[in-house]
Subunit: 141 residues, 2 copies
DNA sequence: CTGGATCCCCGGTGATACTG
DNA sequence: CAGTATCACCGGGGATCCAG
C-alpha cells in the first residue's frame, strides 16, 4: 500500500474529530462488523466448539467431554452465541431424557475454511512467535 | 479435571476423522498455541493496529489518530503485545522530541493474508450473521 | 441430560494525572 | 512526543446449586 494518500474509505463519522484533514477512519460499519466476527473467532471457546463440531453433530455432554477445560456455563453461553450468529444449529428431541444435538450450519462450515487457514498460519509460525517472546522477555531484564 | 470415569468407550473418537483440509490438531499442544494466536487476532485492538500499519511505518500518535477509539493505555499495551510476539517492530530515534516508529515485521505481514481472508469472509457474510441474529432475537420474545 | 440462577474473583479497559 | 502510574468499573468466567 502506498503511503502517499491513504484510502479514505468512508470517514463520514458524524462527530468526526476536528482533524481538519480528512483522515481515513477505519470505524466504518464494515470494519466493526469484521472486528465483531474476529472477536467471535478469537473467543476463547468458540473455535474449540466449532472444531469439535466439524466431525458432525454432537450432543451437549459430548462437547463437554471433547473440551474438558470448558465449564458448563461457558459451553452453554458459547453455543448460544454461535447459534445466534447462525453458525450452529440446535435441535431438541423431546424424549424422556432430553436430547439436544448441535451441528454446524452451512454458514458455520463456510467459516471453517478461513479459520483453518489462520490456524495453519498459527501452527506454522508458533515457533517464531514463541522465539520472539523469549527474546522480548529476556531483554526486559 | 477430566478424569472421566467412563470405561473403554468404543471408537467414537470425537473429532479424529481425517478431513485432510482442515485442522487436525484437536488435542495437541499446538491446539493451545492456535488458540493463543487466535486470541491475539481476535483481540479488540490488535487487528486495528495491524491494519493501520499495513500502509507502512507509523508513529505512536499517528496510530492514535488512525484509531480514534483506542485509549493511550490500550495502544501502548497492544503494541507491546504485538512487539513481544514479533509481529511489530519498535524503532526508537533518540532525538530531542523522542521519535518511535512502529512497523510490521515480515512475520506480521505474513499474518495479514490469512487475517484478510477471514476479514473477507466476515464482510461477505455479515449480512447473514445479522439476519440470523435478528431471527434469534425475535424468537426469544 | 440439559441447562438456568447465583455468588464471587480476577483481569481487561477506560479516565486521569504525571514524567523523561 | 511517548509513554508510565494509579484508580475505578465492569464483564468474563469458574464453582456450585437447582430445575425440567
Amino acid at each position: 500500500m502506498e503511503t502517499a494518500t491513504r484510502p479514505a474509505q468512508e470517514g463520514t463519522l458524524p462527530s468526526d474529530r476536528d482533524t481538519g484533514v480528512t483522515l481515513e477512519v477505519h470505524d466504518a460499519p464494515q470494519c466493526s462488523a469484521v472486528n465483531d466476527i474476529l472477536a467471535r473467532v478469537g473467543d476463547k471457546w468458540s473455535v474449540r466448539v466449532v472444531m469439535a463440531l466439524e466431525g458432525g453433530s454432537r450432543r451437549f455432554n459430548q462437547l463437554r467431554r471433547d473440551i474438558p477445560a470448558i465449564s458448563q456455563r461457558m459451553l452453554t453461553r458459547t453455543l448460544r452465541l454461535l447459534e445466534r450468529d447462525g453458525l450452529v444449529s440446535r435441535t431438541v428431541t423431546p424424549s424422556v431424557p432430553p436430547r439436544v444435538d448441535y451441528a454446524l450450519t452451512p454458514l458455520g462450515e463456510s467459516l471453517c475454511d478461513p479459520v483453518a487457514r489462520l490456524g495453519n498460519w498459527a501452527i506454522a509460525n508458533i515457533g517464531r512467535v514463541e522465539a520472539a517472546r523469549a527474546v522480548f522477555d529476556g531483554e526486559q531484564d
